[in-house]
């Protein structure tokens, strides 16, 4: 089948996707340019970038909220971008769910938790009778560490972490295959971030899920992601296995992004140098850049001249690491 690559099953592939928005009269702003990557079944794929880089826009395009202006998105080999039939649209909703950034904003304040969690069940009539629905809601709440007694409560009565777990329960009750997690912990208190991340990892194993994890916090991404894509101004500049990216960052933007990760060690912190990303150090010849495979599974955005330089750089880094 076409959705196999490197011996692994591809669940979602984003093919040369452009997303642009109309700004005023006949002007367009390109939020995402030529995004091209595959996500394998069962992995956590992280999309990392600064605010405004287009990472959320791309996540929303997968959920069909933002339309693609070029390219296509395939889910399990079937196109889900652009015009698709009502049935296929329902299928996307069933199988692709989202966890939102701000748990305070993404829950309906005037509805009880019971309604919030069973909303998807109602829409697809995924229950036999009332008792079955209640049982499903109870089970979903339990799976995220909440209590059945919370059903009759309203979202504003919960803490941020609890609310985010309600958001997770609401997505999980649909039994999705793929989850887009849009900065699920950046609005949460530091003390409960780990709790939510662990919960997400637990559910991933239990329910055999695949995550697209959108984040700006590299230390979190290192903890949760299998592969990382770095996005800058709508362009994906580097994709690699999580450890490879941290060991051998090649693109200057990735290097600069990694240099901003704070270390919990005052001595290291003191000598740390921030590397400022300067696009003028890239090749200015105007040759078109594209994602090229530098090492197996390690892609970097480059034209031919830059690619040669990156090749040299990674060989040097590999030697350095080997000699150590």
């Amino acid at each position: 089948m076409s959705n196999e690559k490197n011996g692994r099953e591809v669940i979602l592939s984003v093919k040369h996707v452009d997303i642009s928005f109309e700004v005023g009269h006949k002007k367009r702003f390109d939020a995402v340019k030529d995004a091209n990557f595959d996500i394998y079944k069962g992995e956590t794929f992280a999309l990392v970038g600064e605010s405004g880089s287009g990472k959320t826009t791309l996540g929303r395009a997968i959920l069909r909220i933002n339309p693609c202006s070029a390219g296509e998105i395939l889910f399990e080999g079937k196109r889900i971008s652009g015009k698709i039939s009502h049935e296929e649209d329902r299928n996307v909703v069933r199988n692709i769910q989202m966890i939102f950034q701000d748990p305070a904003a993404s829950l309906n304040e005037r509805a009880t938790i019971e309604y919030c969690v069973s909303e998807g069940l109602y829409n697809f009539h995924l229950y036999k009778d009332e008792a079955d629905r209640i049982a499903k809601v109870d089970r979903a709440l339990e799976s995220v560490g909440l209590l059945p007694e919370h059903k009759s409560r309203y979202p504003h009565e919960f803490s941020g972490g609890q609310r985010q777990r309600v958001g997770i329960a609401r997505a999980m009750i649909m039994d999705p295959k793929f989850i887009v997690a849009d900065e699920p912990i950046s609005a949460l208190d530091v003390s409960i971030r780990a709790q939510v991340l662990n919960l997400m990892n637990k559910l991933k194993v239990e329910k055999n899920l695949t995550y697209l994890f959108i984040a700006h916090d590299l230390s979190v991404v290192r903890f949760i992601a299998d592969r990382i894509a770095v996005i800058h101004r709508g362009e994906i500049v580097e994709i690699a296995e999580s450890e490879t990216l941290f060991e051998y960052p090649i693109h200057p933007y990735t290097v600069s992004l990694l240099s901003t990760v704070p270390m919990p060690d005052p001595i290291v912190e003191k000598s740390r140098k921030h590397i400022v990303y300067d696009p003028s150090q890239l090749d200015q010849s105007g040759e078109k850049r594209e994602l090229k495979e530098l090492r197996p599974g390690h892609f970097v955005l480059a034209n031919s001249k830059e690619f040669a330089a990156y090749e040299e750089k990674i060989t040097r880094l590999e030697k350095e690491r080997a000699g150590r």
């Binding site: 959920l63 909220i65 329902r90 909703v93 069933r94 769910q97 989202m98 939102f100 950034q101 701000d102 904003a105 993404s106 829950l107 309906n108 304040e109 005037r110 509805a111 309604y115 909303e119 998807g120 109602y122 829409n123 697809f124 560490g145 909440l146 209590l147 007694e149 919370h150 009759s152 409560r153 309203y154 504003h156 009565e157 919960f158 609890q162 958001g167 609401r170 649909m174």
Partner: protein
């Protein structure tokens, strides 16, 4: 210094225990009533209002007042009497009780304004909600709004009263046939404000239909603003009715109405001012108390006041 370990022991920690919410259960409507009844003045006005409305609905049935029944028209002793214990509001130029005339008028004015408000809301809210939601509908609805809102109201009222004749039915048609679009426009703007909030996007991701979203995600947030709108609409429709009846476009001379009474008694303002001021006073009391109760109810319906 060494701490004695025997003095300490591990405290039990139950993960689920920390998930309990100790605060009492929140109920939206209970909180609305609690907030509303907290203010003694509001409760007083509400009681007065209910009393007035009940009185206006019941008293005309007992008195059987009609402006065309004038048993005392030839009895000069019964005309223009000052208010007294026997004739509470006095008598008018045809020897009828002003008390009966005012309450029969109040009854019709209240019925008309409530019915019209109900119709306007019933039509305006669903259309406005859909209008605010659908960008496609907005494009042509805004043109419809521009056309309808530019029709002069008085002209429309005059033409309709010529075409349909005077009476309660035609007055209700006059005050609803264009008024609903202003309600719809107001709701449209309110819906647009909260339409793109994240929880609506979340509902969309769960496959919720537009109508369910309007019913469960949008309208509950609008209860308070709709109540504010209603509390202004009812008194304003009462004054519309008074105005149209005063202009001779309203209920016609065979039906009692506050506007009718005011217009009829204006001619005696110099000699017998109580004839004019009593219906005006009753009108003012009804309008103001309706407005106060409506406003306080709208405030209480806003969950920000529940804390």
């Amino acid at each position: 210094m060494e701490a004695d370990n025997n003095l300490f022991e591990f405290a039990d920690f139950d993960e689920l225990e920390s998930e309990h919410i100790v605060a009492p259960r929140y109920s939206y409507w209970k909180s609305v009533w609690r907030t509303f009844f907290k203010n003694k003045f509001t409760v007083g006005v509400a009681v007065l209002l209910i009393f007035i409305i009940c009185f206006a609905l019941i008293q005309p049935m007992l008195s059987g007042y009609s402006p065309i029944i004038t048993p005392n028209i030839n009895n000069a002793d019964m005309k223009f009497l000052k208010p007294s214990a026997e004739h509470i509001f006095g008598t008018d130029h045809v020897g009828n009780e002003v008390f009966d005339a005012v309450w029969a008028g109040a009854r019709n004015s209240i019925i008309i304004s409530f019915v019209c408000t109900f119709i306007n809301m019933l039509v305006g809210i669903p259309i406005g909600a859909l209008w605010g939601f659908s960008k496609k509908m907005d494009r042509w609805m805004i043109e419809v709004y521009n056309i309808i809102s530019n029709i002069p109201f008085l002209l429309l009222a005059m033409i309709l009263s010529y075409v349909l004749g005077a009476g309660m039915r035609s007055l209700i048609i006059t005050m609803t046939c264009t008024e609903w679009i202003f309600v719809a426009y107001f709701i449209r703007t309110q819906v647009m404000i909260i339409r793109d909030r994240e929880y609506n996007m979340a509902s969309k991701c769960l496959g919720t239909s537009t109508w369910t979203m309007i019913l469960r995600n949008i309208l509950p947030y609008l209860i308070s603003v709709i109540m504010t709108y209603v509390s202004r609409q009812i008194p304003s429709l009462i004054s519309y009715e008074v105005f149209l009846s005063f202009m001779g476009l309203g209920l016609g001379t065979t039906n009692a109405s506050l506007g009718q009474s005011i217009s009829m008694y204006t001619s005696y303002m110099n000699g017998y001012p109580h004839l004019f001021w009593i219906p005006v006073g009753v009108l003012a009391i009804i309008s103001i108390s309706l407005y106060i109760v409506g406003q306080r109810l709208a405030d209480a319906a806003d969950p920000r006041t529940h804390m």
